[in-house]
């Protein structure tokens, strides 16, 4: 069993967060999320019919284990994000928020300036803010200073399945961060998720790789055990990778003479 961890006032057993997009139907999405044992599931406000109590997406996420993490996908500015967040809070009865501001609709890359602005305001408004950002260590510190509950740097462009292309920056973020680090976007295979956990990330968020697999339920389970394996390895202290063989006669031996 891996150590539980905390974001805001919530304790999580599972370090695998999931999403709700791109599935071929909502029943399949529910099964996959169940198999993943995920406790935090992000859902795009724009996909939910908040005026409908029986919205099909939300209906399939009503499970005691699952906490909803509404996201602001679709907004282009801080102002729009704050407005969307308030609507999400009211409609979905949660002050948790995945802050996503990506004015670039092609690669959905997050806007650091607008994200920082919105995060500051949302924290003041009482939100538990989890911002989706590029793997920028300085931005992570700035977000931490304005009071976000965690940071969500990307491993590669969202939906790209390319793995941890930003690994050097992620390592700095993990080393320096005082808030949990959740690696979001780009994780395309369970091995990528395991690697993220071995590096010491607190959690990962996986959507596309599960949703578009031939068998999403089995893939969700594969991610679950990969995340657990990676975390266990991290907690058990991985051996250091050695770049050179140990010289049989130490270079500094002469100092002892």
């Amino acid at each position: 069993m891996t150590q539980p961890f905390k974001i805001g006032d919530k304790i999580f057993q599972s370090r695998l967060f999931t999403g709700t997009g791109k599935f071929s139907n909502n029943a399949l999405m529910e099964k996959a999320i169940e198999a993943s044992e995920s406790e935090l599931v992000t859902v795009a406000l724009k996909r939910v019919d908040i005026r409908n109590e029986n919205d099909d997406i939300i209906r399939h996420l009503k499970h005691p284990r699952i906490n909803l993490l509404p996201n602001t996908s679709g907004v282009r500015t801080a102002k729009e994000a704050v407005f969307a967040a308030q609507l999400a809070r009211e409609a979905l009865q949660t002050n948790w928020l995945k802050l996503e501001i990506h004015p670039d609709p092609r690669y959905l890359l997050p806007d650091p300036i607008e994200t920082l602005k919105a995060a500051e305001e949302l924290v003041k408004l009482g939100f538990i803010v989890l911002p989706y950002i590029n793997a920028d260590p300085v931005l992570c510190k700035r977000l931490e200073e304005v009071g976000v509950a965690a940071v969500m740097p990307l491993g590669a462009p969202i939906g790209s399945n390319k793995g941890l292309r930003t690994v050097d920056m992620l390592q700095i973020i993990i080393e320096e961060s005082k808030v949990p680090v959740i690696i979001d976007a780009g994780i395309g295979a369970p091995s990528h998720a395991a690697y993220a956990m071995e590096l010491g990330a607190d959690a990962v968020l996986v959507n596309t790789a599960i949703a578009v697999a031939e068998n999403p339920e089995a893939m969700a389970y594969a991610f679950k055990i990969a995340v657990e394996a990676g975390r266990l390895a991290y907690e058990a202290k991985l051996g250091q990778i050695q770049n050179h063989a140990h010289a049989s006669s130490p270079l500094t031996a002469f100092l002892e003479d």
């Binding site: 997009g21 071929s24 996909r47 679709g74 729009e80 609709p105 578009v212």
Partner: protein, 372 residues
């Protein structure tokens, strides 16, 4: 700068020749490339790529799944008016066509909205002809205000407007504008648009620039397939797309593939595009651009639509009426329509078909809150 200054540097005949002289080796290179260029796109739409259709389809499907998932966005057109001062050789609304002309009143728009909403739609495309006195920007502003309570996402397919006019409409909640160039062949364009404001090629070709400057969320591009050589026209459309993406990077783009369909007493297509060639074109767009939305309408038949959405298409209309008032106000008056639709199934039947094939039909993917 605008797209006109880019396209002026190209010579239609040379581009055409370069597409038709692409070889098997060029196609293979394009298929292998990680990032595909406009030259690769030319190879993929060329006759030399025809033997590679299955391979292109598989790759197109994989890329689309990765980016858009197992989903198809559903939308419906709502025709507000068929009044038109233009003469276009291919269009049922053309000025001299003796059809019943009508422009919907507020009460009629509401009646239509309720009917379309009852079919399940939440994304709506408002369509008109070009009659600036009766269906000018004031009419459109009012129409958006009337329609807005019913739909989360509003698109427009109407006459080209000024940047400031688009800004007004965007402020009222407009999300996307579709403006098809019809053909990028300047001389050919003039022969098909002999009278009315639409005869101004330069103004039309720069419309997406004005839209980009106005900050619209989405711009829809396309050529009317059948007017000119579809390969050459599609190259210019892809060039346009590339240019717009670089210049208006906050806007998303879609491409549609209208093939000329029979309309009231009008022109036969100059160039006929086969189903196979349409598949080739759709897949070529996806291979060229992983993120662009690709749309297919009810102009195409049911069998074609049942298969094509798995190879790159991301949005589909269903149960469409192409005459103003067609859903509820004048359900019988088919003579008003712009063109005949082929897939006449109801939205529910189309959604069931999509579901059977393991895809989800998405009805809502936007929220009014984002249009502030």
């Amino acid at each position: 700068m605008s797209f006109n200054s880019i396209i002026e540097k190209y010579n239609w005949d040379l581009v055409k020749e370069s597409i038709y002289s692409k070889t098997t080796a060029d196609v293979e290179k394009a298929l292998m490339a990680e990032h595909r260029s406009l030259e690769d796109f030319k190879a993929l739409i060329s006759p030399a790529a025809e033997p590679f259709l299955e391979k292109m389809a598989k790759e197109s499907r994989a890329l689309t799944l990765k980016r858009f998932g197992n989903t198809v966005q559903m939308f419906a057109p709502l025709y507000l008016s068929n009044e038109c001062q233009n003469i276009c050789t291919y269009c049922g609304f053309s000025l001299h066509n003796k059809i019943l002309r009508t422009t919907l009143t507020d009460a009629q728009i509401i009646q239509e909205c309720e009917a379309v909403k009852a079919l399940g739609f939440d994304h709506i495309l408002l369509v008109t002809g070009e009659a600036n006195k009766t269906v000018g920007v004031d009419y459109l502003l009012n129409a958006i205000r009337v329609v807005r309570p019913y739909f989360s996402n509003i698109s427009l397919e109407v006459q080209p407007l000024e940047q400031e006019e688009y800004e007004l409409l965007i402020n009222e909640g407009l999300y996307a504008v579709l403006v098809y160039q019809e053909t990028y062949h300047k001389e050919e364009y003039r022969t098909h648009h002999t009278k009315g404001k639409k005869s101004n090629y330069d103004y039309r070709v720069d419309t997406p620039d004005r839209l980009g400057k106005a900050g619209v969320h989405k711009i829809g591009l396309g050529v009317l397939i059948g007017l000119e050589d579809w390969r050459t026209d599609s190259f210019f459309n892809a060039l346009h797309l590339n240019y717009l993406e670089k210049n208006y990077w906050q806007t998303r783009y879609s491409v549609s593939f209208p093939r000329l369909r029979p309309a009231e007493g009008l022109l036969e297509p100059k160039v006929v595009m086969s189903d196979k060639q349409l598949v080739q074109l759709i897949c070529a767009y996806r291979l060229f651009n992983e993120n662009v939305e690709l749309s297919i309408s009810t102009r195409e038949n049911a069998t074609f639509r049942n298969n094509i959405f798995k190879m790159g298409i991301t949005s589909m209309s269903a149960g469409s009426k192409t005459n103003p008032g067609g859903y509820a106000v004048f359900p019988e008056k088919e003579s008003l329509e712009q063109f005949a639709i082929d897939d006449t199934r109801s939205p529910k039947e189309v959604a069931d078909m999509i579901k059977q094939q393991g895809y989800e039909s998405v009805w809502k993917d936007w929220d009014k809150v984002f249009n502030l």
